[in-house]
C-alpha cells in the first residue's frame, strides 16, 4: 500500500515536471518543434489555424441555416388551422 502511494507520488511529480518543461520534452520523433523560433511559430500558427477552422465552418453553417429559417418563416404565411372534429 505504501509502495503504491510512493509510486503514485513519483508519477505525479514526473508528470508535473514534464508539464513545466514543454520545450525540453520533444516527444515527437519526426517533428522539429522547438528547434528554432520559425518552426515553433509555424507549429503555433498551424495549431491555431486547424483548431479554429472547423469552429468557423460550423459557426458559418449554423448562422446560414438560422438566416434561412428566418427567411422561410417570413415568406410563409401562417398555416390554416386544420379542421377539427371536436371543439
Amino acid at each position: 500500500m505504501r509502495a503504491l502511494a510512493s509510486s503514485r507520488a513519483l508519477a505525479s511529480s514526473l508528470a508535473l515536471a514534464a508539464l513545466t518543461l514543454p520545450a525540453q520534452a520533444l516527444a515527437c520523433p519526426v517533428c522539429s518543434a522547438g528547434r528554432d523560433d520559425a518552426a515553433r511559430q509555424a507549429f503555433f500558427d498551424t495549431t491555431i489555424f486547424l483548431s479554429l477552422l472547423p469552429l468557423a465552418m460550423f459557426g458559418a453553417i449554423v448562422y446560414w441555416l438560422m438566416r434561412r429559417a428566418r427567411a422561410v418563416e417570413s415568406h410563409t404565411q401562417a398555416p390554416e388551422l386544420l379542421p377539427t372534429t371536436e371543439e
Binding site: S32, F43, F49, P54, L65, R68, L81, T84
Partner: protein, 197 residues
C-alpha cells in the same frame, strides 16, 4: 379534447419539417467542409516543413516557381467564379440566359487547368519532380490535389450545362455544382500564397 391534441400534434411536425435548403446543397456543404480540413492539413504540413528548411526555400538547385504566370492564371480562375455568380443570377430570372455565362465559367476553368498542366510540363523539364525535394513533393501534392478537384468540379458544371441545354436543370443541382466550383476558386489564392510566394 383528444381530437384537439391530435390536431395540434399533426399540425406541428408539418410546420417544423419545412426544408431550409435542398438536400444536395447540404450534402455538398458537408463534403466541402471535409475537403477544407484536408487542404488545411496539407497547408499546415507545408508551412511547418517550409519553416524548418535549413537550406532555404525553395532548396538550392531547384527551379523557381512561375509566380507571375500563375498570378495571371489565378485571375482567370477568379473570373470564372464571377462568371458562375452571373450564371446563377441569370438562371433564377431566365434559365436560357444562363447558358453563356455558364459556358464562360467552364471555359475559364478549363483554361486554368490546361495552364497548370503546361506549367507542370515546364517544371518537370527543369528538374522539379515529386522526388527531387520536399519542395517538389509538396508542390505536386498540393497543386495536383487542387487540379483534381478543379477537374471534378468542371465535370459537375459540364453535367449542369448539358442538363441546361436539355432544359431539365433545376436550381438545387446548379447550386450544388456551384458550391463545389466556388470552393475550388476560393481555396486557390490561399494555395498560391502559401506555395508560390
Amino acid at each position: 379534447m383528444t381530437a384537439k391534441v391530435l390536431h395540434i400534434a399533426r399540425k406541428m411536425p408539418a410546420a417544423r419539417r419545412r426544408q431550409l435548403a435542398p438536400n444536395g446543397v447540404i450534402g455538398m456543404i458537408i463534403f466541402i467542409f471535409a475537403e477544407m480540413m484536408f487542404f488545411a492539413g496539407l497547408i499546415s504540413a507545408h508551412t511547418i516543413i517550409k519553416s524548418g528548411a535549413r537550406m532555404g526555400w525553395p532548396p538550392a538547385g531547384q527551379p523557381r516557381l512561375p509566380v507571375e504566370q500563375t498570378a495571371f492564371n489565378t485571375a482567370a480562375l477568379i473570373a470564372s467564379g464571377l462568371a458562375l455568380v452571373l450564371a446563377h443570377r441569370k438562371f433564377t430570372q431566365d434559365p436560357r440566359a444562363a447558358r453563356a455565362p455558364l459556358a464562360v465559367a467552364m471555359g475559364l476553368g478549363a483554361f486554368f487547368v490546361c495552364f497548370q498542366g503546361m506549367e507542370w510540363v515546364a517544371l518537370l523539364k527543369q528538374g522539379l519532380t515529386l522526388t527531387s525535394s520536399t519542395h517538389g513533393a509538396f508542390f505536386y501534392l498540393i497543386v495536383g490535389t487542387h487540379a483534381a478537384h478543379a477537374v471534378a468540379a468542371l465535370l459537375g458544371l459540364l453535367y449542369c450545362f448539358v442538363k441546361l441545354m436539355r432544359r431539365n436543370l433545376v436550381l438545387p443541382q446548379l447550386m450544388a455544382a456551384e458550391i463545389f466550383w466556388y470552393f475550388v476558386v476560393a481555396v486557390w489564392p490561399l494555395l498560391y500564397w502559401r506555395v508560390y510566394l
